[in-house]
């Protein structure tokens, strides 16, 4: 998977036609094989753009910065990224007319060790669902990809309760409350995060396991039905916490119980918590 040339051409053309002010893409980080996001404003710089299976970050996150808001932006999105873009559009955070979206038919990206990432092997929506232009041939084929429950949560769910409790206690203990997860998530765009608001902090210590538990649980519930499994948060976490566990757990509960689509696949779909069905499960309630 290498669309470097095509993306450079598209960016150059968009600048030449005066259609965009900024182009959000990837460039090499300059010291190893990995890439970092880049915001290009000067047409001269388009040659810096690359796209390979190392293009792991979800660039939609950069649409919530002041560098891109209220500007005309060109952006590259993979399948998962496009779902978060869809949600951003639905939730009125970006305007479609300000965007030029280059959709990728994503064959999966690799981690630092060169192995295909877990979310890519499980991916149900490899092709961008919103785009002005698509690159590559459709990976999803006839749309027959089936939902795979995340292997990690299956393994954890099988363990005894106490073991899970101990495992997560350690996870929350290792959280340093740096909020990198939040900043890296395209869907965490609130003006002031509720975790930082006075009401929420009132009875929490600043940096305790309990506070981390509260913060991460609240965060994952706010992303329930919205998380697109791009794993930006996990890549950003300095403590390497397995944050995807929380999100995948919620996703599987929602997918299995509410017959909902995955987050952001359907335009104008706001996620499972903002609608209901009369047929929702009721047997867990006395």
């Amino acid at each position: 998977m290498n669309y470097t040339k095509q993306i450079q051409d598209i960016a150059a053309k968009l600048f030449a036609e005066g259609k965009i002010d900024v182009f959000v893409g990837y460039r090499m980080n300059g010291f190893d094989e990995n890439q970092v996001p880049v915001l290009i404003t000067d047409p001269q710089d388009v040659s810096k753009l690359v796209f390979t299976d190392k293009s792991v970050f979800n660039l939609v996150n950069y649409l919530k910065t002041d560098h891109t808001r209220r500007k005309r932006v060109g952006i590259v999105v993979k399948g998962c990224d496009s779902r978060s873009l869809n949600l951003m559009l639905t939730e009125s955070q970006v305007k479609r007319e300000n965007l030029y979206v280059v959709g990728i038919c994503c064959e999966g990206v690799v981690d630092d060790a060169g192995e295909k990432m877990q979310n890519c092997t499980d991916c149900m929506v490899p092709d961008a669902v919103v785009s002005d232009e698509m690159l590559g041939t459709a990976v999803s084929g006839s749309g027959t990809l089936t939902y795979k429950k995340n292997a990690d949560i299956v393994a954890l769910a099988e363990k005894p309760l106490t073991e899970r409790a101990a495992y997560f206690e350690e996870v929350f203990e290792n959280c340093i409350r740096c909020n990198a997860c939040r900043h890296s998530c395209p869907l965490c765009y609130c003006a002031k995060c509720c975790i930082d608001q006075e009401t929420a902090t009132l009875y929490n210590g600043a940096n305790t396991t309990s506070a981390a538990f509260h913060a991460l649980m609240t965060w994952s519930l706010h992303l329930a039905g919205r998380c697109v499994d791009c794993r930006n948060c996990e890549k950003a976490c300095p403590s390497h916490l397995p944050l995807h566990l929380l999100h995948k757990q919620n996703e599987s509960v929602i997918y299995e119980n509410f017959q909902e689509h995955l987050a952001g696949v359907i335009p104008e779909d706001r996620g499972a918590f903002y609608k209901y069905s009369l047929k929702d499960p009721d047997d867990f309630i006395m």
Binding site: P160, L161, T162, E169, G205, L246
Partner: protein, 162 residues
């Protein structure tokens, strides 16, 4: 279930946390104003007896219940929580309990996933006429949580209590 409870206590390896002899659980009951709170009032006026472990908070509708309240209760004062609302279709606010129902399921599963026994987070639909049912629900929840013992996860550090 017994075995599981024991497991939980042992693995946390804090001997002083094993239930003291006179320990009584605290259960946070969050009830909607129109059905379940009225139902609990009816339990009272009918003099139906139930265990004294539940502490009742009144909210207008089960949809007012932010999952955050459950998390907060469990990490501060409560050993278990009970949220109760109107039966599906009877919501005073038309559709509130349907929205709430979805959130409850996800929250319950998530809390269970990170190590809380599923019986610590319980839900019920109790109508304003179901005084006896409310007593039955409280009985069951109290019994369940007594079996589980005190809850100490995430409580220790920031919670100094009477």
């Amino acid at each position: 279930m017994e075995a599981e409870v024991k497991d939980q206590l042992v693995s946390i390896e804090k001997p002083e946390l094993i239930a003291p002899p006179n320990w009584e659980p605290v259960i946070m009951g969050i009830l909607c104003n129109w059905c379940s709170y009225a139902g609990s009032d009816l339990t009272g006026t009918s003099r139906i007896q139930y265990p004294p472990n539940i502490r009742i908070i009144r909210v207008p509708c089960s949809s007012r219940v932010d999952p955050w309240f459950l998390i907060k209760s469990l990490q501060t004062t409560a050993d278990g929580v009970l949220v109760s609302g109107c039966h599906p279709g009877d919501c005073h606010y038309i559709s509130g309990n349907y929205f709430a129902r979805r959130r409850f399921l996800v929250t319950k599963k998530l809390l269970n996933f990170v190590g809380f026994h599923e019986n610590r987070i319980q839900f019920s639909w109790v109508s304003a006429a179901e005084g006896p049912k409310f007593a039955k629900v409280v009985n069951k929840v109290t019994e369940d949580i007594k079996k589980l013992g005190p809850l100490h996860l995430y409580k220790k550090e920031n919670f100094e209590k009477k």
